[in-house]
């Protein structure tokens, strides 16, 4: 039996029919999954909310699969993440963090990057661009980097065309789609190694972003696995029009 204090962001939250809350936290000490027994009826329900930064006291017994949350203190919340134009991007970040980082895998950098991504999505006027930049940064940190120097199929140098199957870059000979515009190509080639601030100062034009999202979706699906949030990454205005129609 041991007790531990952790500080992290809630990246998943599920309420069981019995009224327990099962949360996954991303902390500097890695991902932690824990259960708050009877959580929906107590004070923990408001603290253990999605995207909340909480300090928790956990209690783990050798027999139990999950640690039990005994105390939780709210350390920060970003209420603007509930806004329709930001919400799906925050979910994508949380889902990516959940898929990319494992329990017990210490990474202060991953926590800082993820927390920064949520802050950016909450506060920046262009949350879509924050999500694109930070998705690539998170993937890069976890070791998933686009192969940009050589064609993903034949190995020819300087590929510039989209790979509709793997989300990588293809040469003109292997590709069936037109080349990326210069700004998009520059982003794909440098997103991982360029500082976040520099990427944020030079956003790719909005009309070029759907191709970048498609490439990212293919790359993540092939390299990491299925992510549900893609389906909701449609501008809220378009969704509203569809609903009304």
């Amino acid at each position: 039996m041991r007790s531990a204090n952790r500080s992290g962001v809630v990246i998943r939250r599920r309420v069981t029919p019995a009224g327990d809350i099962i949360v996954t936290l991303l902390t500097p000490q890695g991902k932690v999954k824990a259960i708050a027994r009877g959580g929906v009826r107590g004070a923990l329900r408001s603290r253990l909310n999605l995207f909340h930064h909480v300090g928790v006291q956990l209690y783990q017994t050798p027999q139990a699969d999950l640690a039990t949350v005994q105390q939780a203190v709210l350390e920060g919340a970003l209420p603007r993440l509930a806004e329709p134009e930001r919400y799906a991007f925050a979910h994508l970040m949380a889902e990516l963090a959940d898929a990319l980082f494992q329990e017990g895998e210490f990474s202060e950098q991953a926590f800082d990057l993820f927390a920064g991504a949520l802050r950016g999505i909450s506060h920046q006027p262009d949350p879509e661009w924050v999500a694109l930049v930070m998705s690539h940064k998170l993937l890069g940190l976890a070791g998933f980097v686009l192969q940009t120097a050589r064609c993903a199929r034949c190995g020819a140098p300087d590929p510039a065309h989209p790979d509709p199957l793997g989300g990588q870059l293809l040469c003109g000979g292997c590709a069936s789609l037109p080349a990326y515009p210069p700004a998009s190509l520059d982003f794909l080639q440098n997103a991982v190694r360029r500082p976040v601030r520099a990427s944020m100062e030079h956003p790719v034009p909005e009309d070029e972003r759907p191709a970048l999202w498609r490439a990212l979706e293919r790359f993540v699906t092939v390299q990491v696995g299925g992510v549900h949030s893609w389906r909701q990454l449609v501008p809220s205005r378009a969704v509203a029009q569809t609903e009304r129609g």
């Binding site: 029919p17 408001s46 889902e95 949030s229 509203a240 009304r244």
Partner: protein, 217 residues
């Protein structure tokens, strides 16, 4: 010693119920075995009847065993206000308060992209033709991030239709002491504070179509 196959099957089926683990399922199975045959037949009959007769109301998507639910088929309910809730259980909770006499709309969930729940998975589309200009829509989804996101999404969808959209209040429970309130609830209670001297809001029976009381902010 092995359990007989029929007992194993019963335990397996019971343990599929929410909140029932293998041990509870085993206890329930032994309890059912001890009961008289007529009690078991009544239980099985109730389960089958509920499954065959219950369905969602085609108007508000609450659970009913009639063509329309009790609320939708009651002409004395205020037709100028719709309360949007997450689950059928929320309708029962609000009805218990006795403070609301309008209509309902049950979404059957909240927006949650990471769980693959988007607007198309909720009963949002059938809500739109129910909303008329000047009608009040009370967004009574939960106060979680998912509930707030769903409420904000609906607000942006309904306000262009001319609806007066309001959100249920956040705050302290009745009888609650400030000392024991958690910081999130207390913060919401403070940001949503109301002037003490303002005219008390009319009872819902007198004027249910009125908008929410504005905050001093």
């Amino acid at each position: 010693m092995k359990y007989p196959p029929s007992l194993v099957a019963l335990i397996r089926e019971l343990s599929r119920l929410p909140g029932i683990g293998p041990k509870s399922a085993q206890r329930l199975a032994f309890h059912l075995f001890e009961q008289p045959r007529e009690d078991i037949e009544r239980l099985a009959g109730a389960l089958l009847a509920a499954k065959s007769e219950l369905h969602t109301c085609p108007v508000c998507f609450n659970i009913t065993d009639a063509e329309r639910c009790d609320v939708c088929s009651d002409p004395s309910r205020d037709q100028g206000v719709i309360c949007v809730v997450e689950e059928p259980g929320d309708v029962i909770a609000i009805e218990r308060s006795g403070e609301y006499r309008g209509l309902y709309h049950v979404l059957h969930g909240v927006l949650s992209p990471m769980n693959g729940v988007g607007p198309e998975r909720l009963h949002i589309r059938p809500l739109l033709p129910r909303v008329r200009e000047g009608m009040e829509v009370i967004l009574a989804t939960g106060t979680t991030v998912e509930g707030d996101a769903t409420a904000l999404y609906l607000q942006r969808l309904l306000e262009p239709l001319g609806a007066v959209v309001s959100r249920i209040a956040y705050g302290l429970p009745v009888g609650g002491a400030l000392e024991y309130a958690d910081e999130v609830t207390l913060g919401r209670a403070l940001s949503g504070r109301r002037r003490v001297s303002e005219t008390p809001a009319p009872r819902p029976q007198e004027n249910e179509g009125s908008g929410p009381t504005p905050s001093p902010q």
